[in-house]
């Protein structure tokens, strides 16, 4: 008998514009001790399945068909009170963001004891003992002391362990984990996945892992189900799905995964979902305004030099300087970026990589050190006017495509703003013409100009950001995690676009990412950052084949292994 079995599941969301079928005729089973991965991109309906199983569909969503069985017993038609009794007791749930999954006003002990007392009918003293025992099981050091702490006193990875402990309170038979490691760093992700795998085997729990991340799938699952727009397109063993997929969507999805093992020229076959705009020579860059000789001084040597940069944040303010506590987010970082290269900065969260980018672009003022652009020390320039000249030459693309565009401006005005600010054209008509060309060039089309940002998807917005960055005809582009918020197929498209533009326009780029495979695909040289310091600067290929610093080796070893990924239709760089 299957531990968990989902039969012909159908979920719909009625809305004013008609009913949206979020999940359509999905069949899944989970055995004891097995990890089943459900993979898909946003909107595929994978989280909805998890919510439906535990009976917590967000209204107005409803199960319009199908059955859910737990150990052969139908559970989807139980009363809401009976469903509540199953939640936590027989089916545990783990959510994505450990920072928001815990009640900030209660100690870990209060939350654990509350749940244990509810399900196991233990007395308070016994429940407290069990709480400490659970924290011990999920690998939290010093549990007797830590149990009295509030959630904010734990780091992200530790909080996710607390969340897992909460899910394990009543020894459930099934655990549903919805993107359990998406919010975590790669080293923490590896630890958490290992912990989950271990618990699964020891306690013979069946686990359903919902994720968009092929690395997680490769790391932990036994079998995989691939979801696309509410439909289950393919299911099989992990090895089969990753190594030899049948369905065209799965093929396209896997080809879009940035590979840690080889460097590709471009990401192939990413057009299953959204037709990648055919942008073969839409503009002749050599004659267009965008590509015309720019009035910048020619530079010899590296374009950007960073010397001994230090950034200090005050962590505890005080009136007297000696009482203040400070923290060096960036501590003595030096590197150079050569003309025309893509320089990568990689590191975990809090390593200071974004802070370096912000100091180079002038958003932060360094506490110490120099930023030289074409030989000029920017930190010494006082006049705004002089700085504008340099600002025009460097542009930035940010991580979050939803908050980096002003929602009250039309796309036309968003992209035209830098041109108007720097007075780069002689007439408004010329500006508008250029904006139109730009939008077309980044694959959006002219009709995008009159629309507002909210009418676009995340990937399309990132294209708008790119168009805006190109509008000043910069020669240096800073990309701060430009694709971290995007689905993998969209990420592949955006990375392709950035590669093309860099080649066409001869841009120099600083590319920041926490994602090593992406770095391998994008960068010529790379710097590895750890806790505010640069531990290694080297050629990208060399980092991946022969890393020198111990920390680089550690990072690489933690990277999910995707060795047996299908290699259909790939063009390897240099081949």
């Amino acid at each position: 008998m299957d531990l968990l079995s989902i039969k012909n599941l159908e979920i719909e969301f009625p809305s004013r514009r008609g009913t949206v079928v979020a999940v359509n005729d999905v069949n899944l089973t989970v055995q004891p001790g097995e990890v089943l991965g459900v993979v898909g991109e946003s909107g595929a309906g994978k989280s909805t399945i998890g919510n439906a199983v535990i009976g917590l569909l967000e209204p107005p969503g409803r199960m319009s068909g199908g059955e859910v069985y737990l150990k052969g017993e139908q559970i989807n038609n139980l009363s809401s009170e009976e469903k509540r009794k199953i939640r936590g007791r027989r089916i545990g749930m783990i959510f994505q963001d450990p920072l928001t999954s815990l009640d900030p006003l209660q100690t870990v002990e209060q939350q654990l004891v509350e749940t244990i007392e509810l399900h196991l009918k233990l007395g308070e003293a016994k429940a407290k003992e069990r709480a400490i025992d659970l924290l011990h099981q999920v690998g939290i050091p010093n549990p007797e002391l830590r149990v009295k702490h509030y959630p904010h006193q734990f780091s992200g990875g530790m909080r996710q362990r607390v969340v897992i402990a909460l899910a394990l309170c009543a020894e459930p038979e099934v655990i549903i984990a919805d993107e359990p490691t998406t919010a975590l760093d790669v080293s923490i992700q590896a630890q958490i996945l290992e912990l989950m795998r271990k618990l699964c085997q020891e306690k013979q729990v069946g686990m359903l892992i919902i994720t968009h991340d092929m690395g997680v799938i490769a790391d932990i699952t036994d079998r995989v189900a691939v979801m696309y727009r509410g439909n289950l397109v393919e299911e099989g063993t992990t090895q089969k799905i990753l190594g030899n997929p049948d369905h065209p969507y799965t093929k396209s999805l896997i080809s879009a995964v940035p590979r840690p093992d080889i460097r590709l020229k471009r990401f192939p076959m990413v057009d299953y979902i959204e037709k990648e705009e055919d942008r073969k020579k839409l503009l002749d860059i050599s004659t267009h305004w965008l590509g015309q000789a720019r009035d910048f001084d020619a530079v010899e040597g590296p374009l950007v030099e960073v010397e001994d940069l230090v950034m200090t944040f005050v962590t505890k303010p005080a009136f007297l300087k000696k009482n203040r506590q400070t923290f060096n987010a960036v501590n003595g970082v030096s590197f150079e970026i050569r003309q025309g290269e893509v320089f990568g900065l990689v590191g975990e969260s809090g390593s200071g990589k974004s802070t370096v980018a912000r100091m180079i672009s002038g958003l932060y003022k360094p506490a110490k050190g120099a930023v030289k652009f074409g030989g000029t020390n920017l930190t010494e320039i006082k006049s705004e006017k002089e700085l504008d000249y340099f600002r025009r030459q460097m542009q930035m693309i940010f991580q979050d495509p939803f908050s980096s565009l002003n929602g009250r401006m039309r796309v036309m005005d968003i992209v035209a703003e830098p041109i108007r600010f720097h007075k780069l054209t002689s007439s408004n008509a010329e500006t508008e013409g250029i904006v139109m060309d730009l939008l077309e060039h980044v694959g959006l089309g002219r009709q995008a100009a009159v629309r507002f940002p909210h009418e676009f998807s995340g990937g399309q917005r990132q294209r708008i950001s790119i168009a805006r960055a190109l509008a000043t005809r910069p020669r240096f582009l800073i990309c701060d995690e430009p694709t971290s918020a995007l689905d993998v197929s969209i990420q592949a498209q955006i990375l392709n676009l950035l590669k093309d533009l860099q080649e066409e326009l001869g841009l120099t780029m600083l590319f920041i990412s926490h994602d090593l495979p992406v770095i391998r695909q994008m960068c010529d040289r790379v710097g590895v950052m750890k806790m505010g310091e640069l531990v290694e600067v080297t050629e990208t290929e060399k980092l991946f084949t022969a890393p020198e610093a111990p920390y680089s080796q550690e990072l690489l070893s933690l990277m999910p292994k995707l060795d047996n990924l299908s290699q259909q239709g790939l063009q390897v760089e240099g081949a």
Partner: protein, 323 residues
Amino acid sequence: MVSFLFKRLLQSFVVMITVALIAFSMFRFVGDPINNMVGQDTTQQEREELREKLGLNDPFLVQFGRFTLNAAQGDFGLSYKYRVPVSEMIFERMPATLELAFVSAIIALFFGIPLGVYTALKRKGILSKFIMTMSLVGVSLPTFLTGILLILLFGVMLRWLPTFGRGDVIEIGSWTTGFLTVSGLKSLILPSITLALFQLTLIMRLVRAEMLEVLRTDFVKFAKARGLPDRAVHFKHALKNTLVPVITITGLQLGSLIAFAIITESVFQWPGMGLMFIQAISDVDIPVMAAYLVLIAFFFVVINMIVDLLYYAVDPRLRADNE
């Protein structure tokens, strides 16, 4: 914690000095105090002597210093009109206003929070919609109109409740209270409802908005996924997390209950500080106005201070930052 408290005390001190300066400047700029004090047949020389005696010829800073020092000891001088110490007048009136504000605050919290929780949980229910509509009326109806309508209904037409004054009061030491007599309690009902109505609807709408926000958070979803019953999810986890903004607003509103009881007090002829202030304005009784100003500012400062300390009690994250 200690440094935080010290910082807040320093800030409060600056606020009080500023208010004192404004209050003090009224003396100098709103008419000549000597003219207000003496009769028409006083000679120029007598006026000069009085001016000298009152220290009005001293430099500005000396006068201001003297005013502040006296005020800090509760001495605001003599009322121009009644020729009695202002502090005595205020102290006589204060119990009436404080009791009124206290009862109003209790009513506002006691009804506002549960109604807010209810309308948030049963968002689509008919009763919720009705309450929300009524709350709009409560927010938009001016206080004097509510008061007059209540008087008309319960005082004039039904004749259940008194429409003016405090009723019989009992003196406990120097404090007069209306809590201990039937007529005193009866007299409290209409004015306290009038005063509470706006605060009640405000708190209710605030609690509702905050609850809706918290109910969408991940930790509420996770609490439900652990199988916790609705009661525990809603009250133990959700409601407590709405408290920080509610405390802020309630604190500020309590201050304005005391400060702006003026209208309610006028409508109900309530013998409190607000009524006294209105009379002082029409009499250009500057010492009373100045004292009232300083006193209200003092209430606000103290209440805000308590509110800040309450944050610490409610939210452990704040405690950690300052450890």
